[in-house]
Symmetry: C2
Subunit: 369 residues, 2 copies
């Protein structure tokens, strides 16, 4: 079993879920609230996790929306109050994880989630939040070790709270829980994990430990993503992809790049984030190749290709069955100027190795159709 501790304490291996009861004890929790969604409940994973929690009996919330909402938060807080909860267990992908952070925050700090909006300086007010245990069920976002929570407010606006104090205390990363993830979700989440390593490694800030971890994650994802998609029960492939995903989450602090800068505004139209990244990253790599030729070559060597990096990635995206253009998602190209404008202002654009302005983003989006 592997114990990794940078910001979160991470238990990583097949069977790590067996540590759940002792980790609940280690945090001193008497009445945790377990937050998940209907998909996880129906897959049978929830049942296995509840078994691992025994003798603890967490209060259950299975209503997390695809985009976690203020209504979800209010339901969780009502359960928290009713049962006297004292900590959060989140089980699932990015949505339960975001919701769990929001519950850990508002249950201890009071007020509304919007009070902690990073844009109005609210996130700086965040102190110690309720203890959290995060259990990812996909290898992708790395959100389980993240510091941010994105919620859709009752008024329809998105709101983000970000503070290191919201990082989960404990992560239990058990690749066993990903063995039955369907190919399409394995592909879309896996390409996201790969992209975190690639965009981070190419980003313009200076952070050698992040670069080292990023390259390790890219090496693993490049070697194993296709196998994880095509042979879902390949245990090593699932182990390697989950490690690549955690490593992707660890390195985000260095800064991402233009593919994520476009995926953010496009995500507001409710496309799957990883699917967007698979479409957007190849043209971004082509765009970046003159700005960071040596780093592109290092990436080519760790993914073991003789092709141009963007061609290699485009081939991988096709191999794992993801759509190769925004058109295939039904994206209306008259929206390109608006998305390009937003992408150019996205904070993730700032660390792309080649400066991209609105016209560049319009070109990149047209190439991505």
């Amino acid at each position: 079993m592997s114990l990794i501790q940078y910001l979160s304490k991470i238990h990583f291996d097949f069977g790590a879920i067996s540590l759940l009861a002792s980790e609940i004890d280690a945090l001193g929790l008497k009445k945790p609230l377990l937050i998940t969604d209907k998909g996880i409940e129906q897959s049978g994973i929830l049942e296995r996790v509840l078994d691992a929690a025994k003798p603890h009996k967490p209060v259950l919330y299975t209503g997390t929306s695809e985009n976690p909402s203020e209504a979800n938060l209010e339901e969780c807080l009502a359960l928290w109050e009713e049962h006297g909860c004292d900590g959060v267990i989140v089980l699932g992908g990015g949505s339960p994880i975001d919701l769990g952070k929001a519950v850990a925050l508002v249950s201890t700090h009071g007020g509304k989630f919007a009070d902690y909006d990073v844009k109005i300086g609210g996130s700086a007010k965040i102190g110690t939040v309720a203890p959290q245990i995060a259990i990812p069920t996909a290898a992708g976002t790395g959100a389980e070790i993240g510091r941010a929570s994105v919620m859709t407010l009752n008024n329809g606006l998105k709101c983000v709270a970000v503070n290191l104090k919201m990082v989960a205390n404990t992560v239990i990363a058990d690749p066993e829980l990903t063995l039955s993830l369907p190919p399409r979700l394995t592909a879309a989440t896996g390409i996201d994990a790969l992209s975190h390593g690639i965009e981070t490694y190419l980003s313009s800030s200076i952070n050698p430990p992040a670069d080292a971890i990023a390259l390790d994650g890219v090496t693993r994802a490049a070697a194993w993503l296709s196998k994880a998609v095509h042979e879902g029960h390949n245990r090593q492939a699932r182990w390697e992809m989950m490690m690549a995903s955690i490593e992707g989450g660890m390195v985000l602090q260095k800064g991402l790049g233009s593919a994520h800068a476009m995926a953010n505004p496009l995500g507001e139209l409710h496309y799957h984030h990883g699917t967007l990244i698979g479409i957007l990253l190849p043209p971004v790599l082509d765009f970046n190749k003159q700005a960071a030729p040596e780093r592109i070559d290092v990436l080519r060597s760790v993914v073991k290709t003789d092709k141009a990096l963007h061609d290699w990635l485009g081939d991988l995206v096709a191999d794992i069955g993801l759509p190769n253009g925004l058109g295939a998602l039904g994206f209306d190209e008259t929206l390109i100027p608006e998305i390009a404008e937003k992408a150019s202002k996205d904070h993730l654009s700032a660390t792309n190795p080649r400066k991209a302005d609105v016209a560049d983003y319009e070109n990149l989006l047209r190439q991505s159709m």
Copy 2:
């Protein structure tokens, strides 16, 4: 400027010391206690750091012993009380850093340092300690991002407190402060940084992010240690060695090996830790070569040598002017059985890739004479 954040927030670059005043403000400190030693005071580094702290005027303690003692701690606590201090700035190598953690602990928790001894379970009682800013003046131990404090008690015994809550909030790593470090200290501390990467990478636990960072640190130290020793004012060499040192500190969590397992009991005889490591690590690498042949080969490739790894390291130790045997330190070889016994029981022996028993340690110590 580089911002790195795993457990500590690390500002890293030439000129990073200019952030000291704003980091004191960021932690909300009104009256920090600055802990350092006479050597740092005489070198002129203290004066530059006090300049960077302005308008803050830290309370000063310059009396840190080579092995920080309970008497040092009592003197610091008296200053803390007298001036109403609210946080610690440590400036120096491992000794002020250990003392600073002890002050941050006992000033907030009360009692005696020995109450928090890890051997009696005391470290588990540690909660939030006083804020700490650590400013390393050598590239070696990586203690500035560590979680442990070792103190010599008034009764002469050594006592260790270890808890993640004792990790410094902020590290300011400015290679400028190491430019005037003499060759011998540059060599002895630098070989320690290199050894952390090597022993960690070879250690038997599973921690891929630590492995990735370790290899990056080894790559840098192998390429630049000799230059840092022979051309002390080579700025890139100092930058690379300081990065290797921080990276070494980040990866210790994976576990070390037999060289450190022997250096611990030998250190009780007051030999310099890094000097010991330079002597002990080559025979340990020879001993380990059959247990981890692939990893040894990876290390050979990142240090760019065609020689056996232990020969390469032995040559480097000679090149940088460190003693090549315990005999040269005046070590009495009749003590070998006692040291071997202690090394075999040291917790760092457990993660050496090849199991080493008392007889193995006796052999290793004889080879190290």
